[in-house]
């Protein structure tokens, strides 16, 4: 079971780097949606025998992270008619290298952490740290509001991976509450994106900081 989990986590890490390296926003949305699907499968692999809690957490994650949120974002993309992230604060190749560096350090760092013995074999902790960092880079260095949402989602994915450690102990309500919060946040941001676009006819958030006469 753990080997399959590790294989999935490695794919998640590769998707992080891919999301950092590409300039097409649609590709980023698809990558994050695929990441959400993979994360949704994970609770099923962690428990030895399937519990109702794991199955429903997995179903909710697949539905929201993999399908509903990407659909909402794709619709928002279609409305505001932008295709690419044009001028990120840090270029695509450097941010990808930063992500790779962070992944390497996360691996090193995780071996130094005093973890419970059953948590040392799977890659969960380093993958969570690396994904959080990738989301952080995406969130801070991109100028378009919609790519910043993707960064927020990747960040949340990292926290979700961390939550996998507690999947047996964490009550289902907490997990579902977090997913609902995420859903509402994305919903609100999608409406905001539309308004930003109508007011400034651009999604560049740097314009929001400029004072108006």
């Amino acid at each position: 079971m753990h080997s399959l989990l590790n294989a999935l986590l490695v794919v998640v890490l590769a998707l992080n780097l891919f999301a950092l390296g590409t300039s097409r926003i649609i590709t980023v949305i698809k990558v994050v949606s695929l990441q959400g699907l993979l994360l949704g499968v994970m609770p099923l692999l962690i428990e030895e025998h399937l519990a109702l809690a794991a199955v429903s957490a997995s179903a909710a994650a697949i539905l929201l992270k993999g399908l509903v949120i990407p659909t909402m974002l794709l619709r928002a993309m279609r409305d505001v008619q932008i295709k690419r992230e044009m001028e990120p604060l840090i270029g695509f190749l450097p941010s990808m290298l930063l992500g790779a560096l962070a992944t390497g350090f996360a691996l090193l760092f995780a071996t130094a952490l005093p973890l419970a013995s059953e948590h040392t074999t799977p890659l969960l902790v380093p993958a969570a740290l690396a994904t959080i960092f990738a989301g952080f880079i995406l969130l801070t260095t991109r100028a378009k509001a919609i790519t910043q949402i993707m960064g927020y989602l990747v960040l949340e994915n990292g926290i979700y991976i961390f939550g996998m450690l507690l999947v047996g102990a964490m009550p289902l309500v907490v997990e579902l509450g977090a997913l609902l919060d995420l859903f509402v946040a994305i919903f609100v941001i999608c409406i905001m994106v539309n308004h930003i676009n109508q007011t400034f006819s651009s999604l560049d958030t740097r314009r929001l900081a400029a004072l108006k006469e």
Binding site: S3, N6, A7, L9, A14, L93, L123
Partner: protein, 302 residues
């Protein structure tokens, strides 16, 4: 004994079929009927009956190179086991010989290209060698992962390591190595993200440009050698992607042939859905292959 015969027979006969399947897949994606699956066999027969024109400025290297290239790749093919069977040739350290037989074939292809004295072919040779600098480390990292996993330096044992249930502990690095080896397969065989095998008069080609001066049987040998190389590298990749064994020899052989054809379809799909990379971006892809395989090694060592 029968298995060795089947191994050699497949190695000799099957490679041109793979290219036929790739071209058929591409044709299907483009909505064409495409050339027959056996087209390369017809081409080889046609080329074998033609005469050879040899430029006066060339030396013996030019004529010897295709033969040496084909021989080197065939020998490499004898070391790679197919499916769960043993390879005909196996000894400790044969992975080094395997890697350098591939390098030898490349050396002679590029030397023959330089031998013609054509600036165009020299350019192709330079590109081929440049990209080889990046694809060889990826291959060695992949072999390193397999060697570490199997605890052996015999190619047969190494490639059977994913099969030997040791994979349970290291699926993560195998996924990475499989990705790296697939990029390597595309790059080494001059397939689309790196090179376009269909263009003959573009400035971005690598392999085709080196063989422009060869004609008749010599060109046939080169085409056949390229197909065998695709076959051998796919056989390496298949050990990592499909580590299955059914137990019955007949079933295993047919499974192997089927997997081989599926790999050809996968290459065809990649060629259909991707555009060729710009020449200055090719090294990024190859560096990604190195990083994938290297990261796989780090995961295994952790």
């Amino acid at each position: 004994m029968t298995n060795i015969f089947i191994h050699i027979a497949l190695l000799l006969i099957m490679p041109p079929l793979l290219l036929g399947v790739i071209n058929k897949t591409k044709a299907l994606f483009a909505g064409r009927r495409g050339p027959p699956v056996l087209q390369l066999y017809y081409d080889l027969i046609k080329l074998a009956r033609k005469g050879v024109v040899i430029s006066q400025v060339t030396t013996w290297v030019f004529t010897a190179a295709p033969v040496i290239t084909l021989t080197a790749i065939m020998l490499a093919g004898l070391m790679v086991p197919m499916g769960p069977f043993q390879s005909p040739v196996a000894f400790t350290g044969d992975l080094i010989l395997f890697a350098y037989l591939l390098a030898l074939s490349r050396f002679f292809t590029t030397t023959a290209a330089l031998d013609t004295g054509s600036a165009f072919e020299g350019m192709g040779a330079a590109r081929e060698v440049t990209f080889a600098c990046l694809s060889e480390p990826a291959l060695f990292f992949a072999l390193l992962v397999l060697a570490k996993m199997s605890g052996s330096l015999v190619l047969t044992n190494m490639l059977h390591a994913p099969l030997a249930a040791g994979s349970q502990a290291s699926a993560a690095s195998l996924v990475l190595v499989a990705g790296g080896l697939f990029i390597l397969l595309l790059a080494e065989n001059s397939r689309i993200p790196v090179d376009d095998p269909n263009t003959h008069l573009e400035l971005t080609m690598i392999h085709e440009v080196m063989v422009l001066d060869h004609s008749g049987p010599l060109l046939g040998i080169i085409l056949y050698g390229a197909a065998v190389k695709l076959f051998v590298l796919s056989a390496v990749l298949l050990h990592i992607v499909f580590p299955f064994q059914s137990g019955s020899a007949l079933l295993d052989w047919s499974l192997f042939v089927l997997e081989m054809l599926l790999t050809a379809v996968a290459v065809g799909v990649v060629e259909s859905v991707m555009a060729r990379l710009q020449m200055r971006n090719v090294q990024h892809l190859l560096i990604a292959a190195i990083l994938l395989c290297g990261f796989g090694f780090v995961l295994l060592m952790r």
